[in-house]
Symmetry: C2
Subunit: 227 residues, 2 copies
DNA sequence: ACGACGCTTCGTCGGGGGGTGAAGCGTCGC
DNA sequence: GCGACGCTTCACCCCCCGACGAAGCGTCGT
C-alpha cells in the first residue's frame, strides 16, 4: 500500500474523520469524547485511535485514567484542511450537530463558526487588523475600535500568539485565533452580544455552543458581519 | 458521511490512490493506462474512475475510443501533495517500480525524480533562477550559464509557463517544470548526460525512465547536484 | 480496600465494497 | 462492413473491516 493510500484510508473512515475534524482546532480530547463525537462505542473508538496513532496522524498523552489525543503535527492539519477544501461530490454534507453550533461556538476560548469567520473578515475589511509575519497585527485605528468594544488589548498581547488564523471546520474558512480573538470573544460575552446556554449539556460539542442575542445580532450587523 | 471522510475515502483505496498519483504531474491518461498503473483489470478501473469523477476529483475528456482522465483541479493536487507529506506509519513505503525510476524520469517532458529535485535545488542555490510571481525567472548570470549548457531560452520562453514548481511524487519535494525545465532536459539529452533506455517497455511508467550516463553524473555533480 | 470509572483487548458477527468474467456498446482500421 | 480495440455495465463472489458485548487492566474517589 502506497503512502498516499495509507494516509487517505486512515482519514477516509467516517468515524476517524469525525475524530480528526474534532481535533482540527488543536484541542486535545479524550478517547471518550472522541467516541461520542464519532457516534460510536468505546471499543470501536479505541481501535480507531490506535490506528490513527500508529499511522502517525494523532499523538497521545496519558494523564491519569484519561488519554488525551491531539493531531500529530502541522502537516496533518494541513492535509485535513486540503481535503476539506475538496468538492466531495459537489454537495456539502449537512453538519449533523445542528445549525446553532455551526453559527457560533467556542474554539480554544475564541469565537468560531459563521460569526467567527464573519468577524475575521469584517476586522480585516475594516482595517482593524493587517497581515503580519506569522499572523495578524492590530492597526492604530483597529486598536481604538477594539478598545471601544471593551477589548483588553494588554491581555491579548500577553498570549503566546496575538492573532493568527485557525481553520473553521464548519465554514471551511479561517477564523481569528490567538490572544486577540480570545479577548474579543470575552468582550462580546461581557456585552451580552453572545451568551452561553444556561444548561450546558454533557455532550462535549454542546458545551462549546454560543448563542447570539438579538442585541448582539444588531450590533454585529452594524460592524458588517453577516447575520 | 462528512465531506472529509468522503474525499479521503475516495483517495484511500490503493487502486484509486495509484491512479491519482499517476495523474499528479498533470498529464491526462487513458482508462487503460490507469488500470495498468493501478494493477487491476479494466472493469475495476472503470468503476474507480467513475467514482473519482462523480466525486469531483478527476475530469474526463472523451476522444475517439479513448477516455482521457486528469485531476479535476488545483485543489485536488494540493490535497494529494498534503497527504503525500504525511508520515503514513512513519515508514516510507518502498516504491514498487524500482530505484531507477525514482532516480530520473520524464514528467511532461521535463526531468523528475532525484535528479530533477536536485537540479531544481542547484539552480536556485547557484542563483540561476530567482522566485517570481507564479514561479521562477532566470537571472542574468543564470541565463549565461544555461546558454553554456546548450539550453534554448527562446523556446523556453515560448511555453505557456516559463518555470514553476511541480511536486515530485517519489521525492515529495518540488522539481522544476515549465518551458525552461523542458529545454534544460532536452539539452541534457542532447549532451548525452541523460539517455532514454533503448527498448522502451510497453508499461507507461517505464516509458518515462531516464538513465544518467557516467559522464552526465560527473558533470551534474560538478554543478552541485547530489548523485 | 472497595467500587466507580476510563480505556483497552478479545471474540464474534454482519454488511459493504472491491475484484473478476462475460456481455454490450461505440470507435477505429483494413 | 467487418473484426479489433477501448471502455463500460452487469452479475456474482468473497474477503475485509468496522461494529458491538464481554472481560480485563489501571486509576481515581471515599
Amino acid at each position: 500500500m502506497t503512502s498516499l493510500a495509507a494516509s487517505a484510508a486512515l482519514i477516509g473512515d467516517p468515524a476517524r474523520a469525525a475524530m480528526l475534524q474534532a481535533l482540527l482546532p488543536g484541542e486535545a480530547l479524550t478517547a471518550g469524547e472522541l467516541a461520542r463525537v464519532a457516534g460510536i462505542g468505546a471499543p470501536a473508538a479505541s481501535a480507531h485511535l490506535k490506528a490513527l496513532t500508529e499511522g502517525g496522524l494523532v499523538g497521545v498523552h496519558a494523564q491519569g485514567r484519561h488519554r488525551y489525543h491531539r493531531l500529530a503535527g502541522e502537516e496533518v492539519a494541513t492535509a485535513l484542511e486540503a481535503l476539506l477544501a475538496l468538492p466531495a461530490g459537489g454537495i456539502r454534507a449537512p453538519w449533523p450537530h445542528g445549525d446553532a453550533l455551526r453559527r457560533a461556538r467556542l474554539c480554544w476560548g475564541h469565537l468560531a463558526g459563521q460569526l467567527g469567520v464573519g468577524l475575521h473578515g469584517a476586522m480585516a475589511a475594516q482595517g482593524w487588523i493587517a497581515p503580519a509575519p506569522g499572523g495578524w497585527q492590530a492597526t492604530p485605528s483597529g486598536e481604538a475600535a477594539l478598545r471601544d468594544l471593551g477589548v483588553d488589548l494588554g491581555a491579548a498581547r500577553a498570549a503566546p500568539r496575538f492573532a493568527c488564523d485557525c481553520m473553521d471546520w464548519s465554514e471551511r474558512r479561517p477564523h481569528l485565533a490567538g490572544g486577540l480573538a480570545r479577548e474579543v470573544t470575552a468582550a462580546l460575552l461581557r456585552r451580552k452580544w453572545l451568551v452561553r446556554p444556561e444548561a450546558a449539556s454533557e455532550r462535549p460539542l454542546r458545551r462549546r455552543l454560543l448563542l447570539c442575542t438579538p442585541e448582539g445580532a444588531r450590533q454585529l450587523q452594524g460592524l458588517g458581519i453577516a447575520a
